[in-house]
């Protein structure tokens, strides 16, 4: 295998060889920032952003390398032996294929924008350096996940990502809620990672390698390994591939917050908003989806392709169902939330559900396309909410906002674009096309139609709660503080460029954010619109790109999709009008006023507001059991093991006493006398060393005499 890697290197594209630079640069940046003691904000920011920019350029090169190469999927790997496991070498390496390239571009680009944004957002935080150090570290981990050609490297980067997510959620660790959220996120994702680890180990046991692809096609995702694996069957007639796939999917569930492990994601919003945007909307949570896409060959192996390019296996069915349930579930929860970021968080969860569903029903292209588009417009939304929060002086409750349209027009404009993209407003927004793809494939799914209906419902909810949010935040009048009259232009303008001054005197009129925050928003908004052209049914360039096929413009493809497009547009428009009717028409006057739905259906609303009491459920079951187990272990520890340890320790103490006695009364005395003798002899010999030259000369003379005598005597003998 190593020989293969070396042989490959000759005709390899240079970018493949230097792909490692992309994750390495942010890592180096993080290291440099970490070792710089005094707060050098400029250095930190410029290092992080610069590394991301260079990474973006490199990934552009990588992308260019994956284009135009004729038929078949472009895939080049570069791997080298790393450590020796028992008998054989474990290689690590990286792979460059369309999946990697497109993810690289997305992550580096969005990440760069978010870095720039957070320069403005964190401007007044005294832990600026730490923040950027973590961000850069996260970026390197995420990029490592993307380029990894080896599940081991993948897992390492994956854990780095998890760690940085923990650190960043708990960035404001002085807030107990943040600390708790960080712990929750870490532990919950650990559950998933355990599954991933088991899957990896099983895979290694089965195929003897963790390389996904290799030069000589012996990788664990390639036909030889898979077919040799597919012959095995484990408990309950479950195919080994299926089992491994499900275990790995468990990791994905944990990472991208699918039901039932979704609970950590909403709480993760305790972190700074850029973190929410970068990690919990754009990139990290997408890593789970990416993982599924990465091991898609494993999951889809052995099943015949259906007529529209997706294949049906047990694993994929599970994926689909989990995705669908997650989508509708969290979309419904989002309806009843009041925290602007929580709403977005639940929408994220539901969108991730959509992606999973897309992967399950429609193959890699569908899910990934929604992932990309979602990354852009969700980052846009989060950053927009961040700008709003920044403008409202760290206020997050939508009920306390309102009428911000006047105060921050730019934010309003881009936020509106994001909202329309997310809710899938027809024709002009990327969200529409990607979601439509998913629904389309779900509709064609041979197993069942239920996921399709769930998806439609989710779309309805999505449109509805986004409209509600926008209506509450941007329309009506500002409910941030009691008296409107106290705000005068000079004060607001003054507070606009130094908002920490304003933050000190509690309530003040909201203000537009500085350019360093708005410009990334605008860029993201542009992309949120433009990306739509890549995935229309008429010209499914993205799919072709991923599959490595040329794409032809063919309007006739609308023939079988226009009905569905119509349906989804109708759904979306219904949701929006519903939202406008309920919240736009009659604005609430005060922050304390009851919500409209709450007035109508208090029970349902409470259930939704409390997230179906999932946390409480876990509280009652998992955590209770956990506590019990813990106490049991404590008991064991204290009495059984502790007793044994105590016994051993007493025995040791006795021995120690014995040793001490011997030491003191035999060894020490001996050594003391020995040392004494040595010291005295040294003193005696140093007496000889009287610093008088002439004594030495005398000795030399005597030595000369002796030497001559010896010579004569030796001559005689």
């Amino acid at each position: 295998m190593r020989l293969g890697g070396l042989a490959l290197k000759k005709k390899m594209n240079w970018i493949v060889q230097y792909l490692w630079l992309i994750p390495a640069l942010p890592l180096v940046a993080a290291g440099i920032i970490a070792v710089n003691k005094q707060p050098q904000r400029k250095l930190a920011a410029s290092l992080a952003i610069g590394s991301m920019a260079v990474g973006f350029l490199l990934s552009l090169c990588a992308f260019a390398a994956t284009l135009h190469h004729g038929e078949g999927v472009f895939r080049e790997v570069y791997s080298f032996p790393w450590i020796k496991f028992g008998g054989q070498w474990m290689d690590i390496g990286w792979v460059l294929d369309p999946l990697t390239a497109v993810m690289l571009m997305m992550v580096t680009f969005v990440g760069m924008l978010i870095f720039i944004f957070s320069v403005g957002y964190m401007a007044h935080d005294q832990n600026f350096m730490r923040f950027f150090c973590f961000l850069a570290l996260f970026a390197s981990g995420m990029l490592g996940v993307i380029i990894a050609n080896n599940l081991f490297l993948f897992f390492v980067s994956w854990e780095i990502v998890g760690l940085t997510s923990y650190l960043l959620i708990g960035f404001w660790y002085h807030k107990p809620s943040a600390a708790a959220a960080a712990k929750k996120a870490f532990i919950t994702t650990r559950i998933g990672d355990l599954g991933l680890l088991l899957g990896m180990v099983w895979l290694y046991a089965q195929t003897g390698t963790l390389n996904l692809y290799t030069a000589d096609h012996t990788g664990c995702l390639e036909a030889s390994a898979l077919s040799q694996m597919a012959t095995h069957v484990t408990i309950g007639g479950l195919g080994v591939t299926t089992a491994i796939g499900l275990l790995i999917f468990l990791g994905a569930v944990g990472k991208s917050g699918q039901v039932p492990l979704h609970v950590w994601l909403p709480d993760a919003m305790e972190g700074p908003t850029p973190v929410s945007a970068l990690i919990h909307a754009a990139t990290m949570v997408a890593a789970g989806v990416f993982l599924v896409a990465r091991v898609y060959p494993l999951m889809s192996f052995g099943a015949p392709l259906t007529e529209h390019g997706a294949s049906v296996t047990t694993a994929l069915t599970v994926v689909t169902w989990v995705g669908a349930i997650t989508a509708i579930f969290s979309a419904s929860i989002a309806v009843a939330q009041n925290d602007i970021k929580r709403i977005l968080a639940y929408s994220t969860v539901s969108q991730l559900g959509y992606m999973m569903m897309g992967l399950g029903v429609g193959g890699v292209a569908v899910g990934m396309f929604h992932l990309i588009t979602h990354a852009f417009f969700k980052a846009l939304l989060f950053l927009g909410s961040g700008s709003v929060i920044h403008g409202c002086h760290e206020e997050q409750d939508v009920r306390k906002m309102g009428g911000l349209r006047k105060y921050m027009p730019v934010t309003f404009a881009v936020y509106g674009i994001g909202m329309l993209a997310l809710s899938g407003f027809p024709l002009f927004f990327s969200g529409f096309w990607s979601k439509d793809e998913i629904l389309h494939h779900a509709h064609k799914w041979p197993v069942s139609q239920i996921p399709f209906y769930l998806g439609c419902a989710g779309a309805l909810f999505t449109a509805f709660y986004m409209t509600r949010q926008v209506a509450l935040v941007f329309y009506g009048k500002y409910r941030g503080h009691a008296d409107e009259s106290s705000h005068d232009q000079s004060h607001s303008s003054h507070s606009s460029h130094s908002s920490h001054v304003a933050a000190e005197d509690g309530h003040d009129t909201p203000h537009e954010s500085p350019a360093v925050m708005t410009v990334p928003l605008i860029i993201l908004a542009v992309f949120a619109i433009l990306l739509s052209v890549l995935g229309t049914p008429a010209w499914p360039w993205f799919e072709g790109y991923l599959k490595g096929e040329a794409t032809i413009l063919d309007w006739s493809r609308f023939g079988d999709t226009w009905v569905l497009m119509l349906v989804s547009s109708v759904i979306v428009l219904t949701g929006i009008t519903l939202g406008v009717f309920l919240y736009g028409k009659r604005q609430r006057q005060t922050a304390e006023e009851k919500d409209v739905l709450e007035a109508a259906q208090p029970v349902v609303f409470r259930i939704l507001q409390n997230k179906y009491y999932i946390d409480e459920l876990y509280e009652l079951t998992v955590i209770r059991f956990n506590a019990f187990a813990a106490s049991f272990c404590d008991f064991l520890d204290t009495w059984i093991f502790g007793g044994a340890v105590l016994l051993v320790s007493y025995a040791t103490l006795g021995l120690a006493w014995l040793y001490r006695l011997t030491d003191e009364y035999f060894v020490n005395l001996g050594f003391d006398t020995g040392c004494e003798a040595l010291r005295e002899s040294g003193g005696l010999s140093s007496k000889l060393h009287s610093g008088r030259v002439q004594t030495y000369l005398r000795v030399i003379g005597v030595a000369l005499v002796l030497l001559i005598l010896f010579l004569i005597w030796g001559r005689k003998a």
Partner: protein, 200 residues
């Protein structure tokens, strides 16, 4: 011609003994010069002119002068009134006697000595130069290097240390006490001693 040789040897040894036993160091140094010249004379009688002249040039011309300089620099030009012998000189004399006896004994009845009647070898300057430049060129270079190092080392060792700053400051203070500090020219003319101090 052993006679002249013996005479030279006697003179040389007398001078050496004097150089080692006189009380006045300068006399010792002069006697040393005489004994060096005696050695040079012996060299000449052994057909080693070059070495003889070098002996004069190096020892009489340089080493003796150097020693004299050192004597004057250590202010020990006068004969001390206390004893010039170190404590425990008797042991030294005994060791010396042993050394001499053993050496003389070894010389007098050693059998392996080469025959004394040999043609006078010719050590012309040309031969010496050839040998120095071919066989012994590396030792020559090393010796040159060593001489340079020794010279630098000697200069550095014997270099007079900078006297601490506060000393000169104290001088200024004393000066200020004596003279009204309004005068500038005497102050300026006072500076040189400190400077010449390091120079000389």
């Amino acid at each position: 011609m052993p006679i002249t040789l013996i005479l030279t040897a006697v003179v040389l040894l007398f001078a050496a003994v004097a150089a080692m036993s006189l009380r006045n160091l300068v006399h010792c140094a002069l006697m040393l010069a005489i004994s060096f010249s005696g050695i040079a004379a012996i060299y000449l009688q052994l057909n080693a002119e070059f070495v003889g002249f070098t002996e004069i040039l190096v020892y009489v011309g340089a080493v003796a002068i150097l020693i004299v300089m050192a004597i004057l620099l250590t202010r020990s030009g006068e004969a001390p009134d206390r004893s010039v012998l170190t404590s425990g000189w008797a042991a030294g004399v005994a060791v010396t006697a042993m050394v001499f006896v053993i050496l003389g004994w070894a010389i007098l009845n050693s059998t392996g000595l080469p025959p004394t009647v040999t043609p006078a070898p010719s050590a012309t300057v040309k031969n010496i130069g050839d040998v120095l430049m071919t066989t012994y060129v590396l030792p020559l270079e090393i010796i040159a290097l060593m001489l340079t190092a020794a010279m630098i080392g000697a200069v550095i060792i014997a270099f007079r240390e900078e006297e601490p700053k506060e000393k000169t400051k104290m001088e200024d203070g004393r000066w200020k006490v004596e003279q009204p500090s309004t005068l500038s020219t005497p102050a300026s003319s006072l500076q040189p001693p400190a400077s010449t101090g390091e120079k000389a």
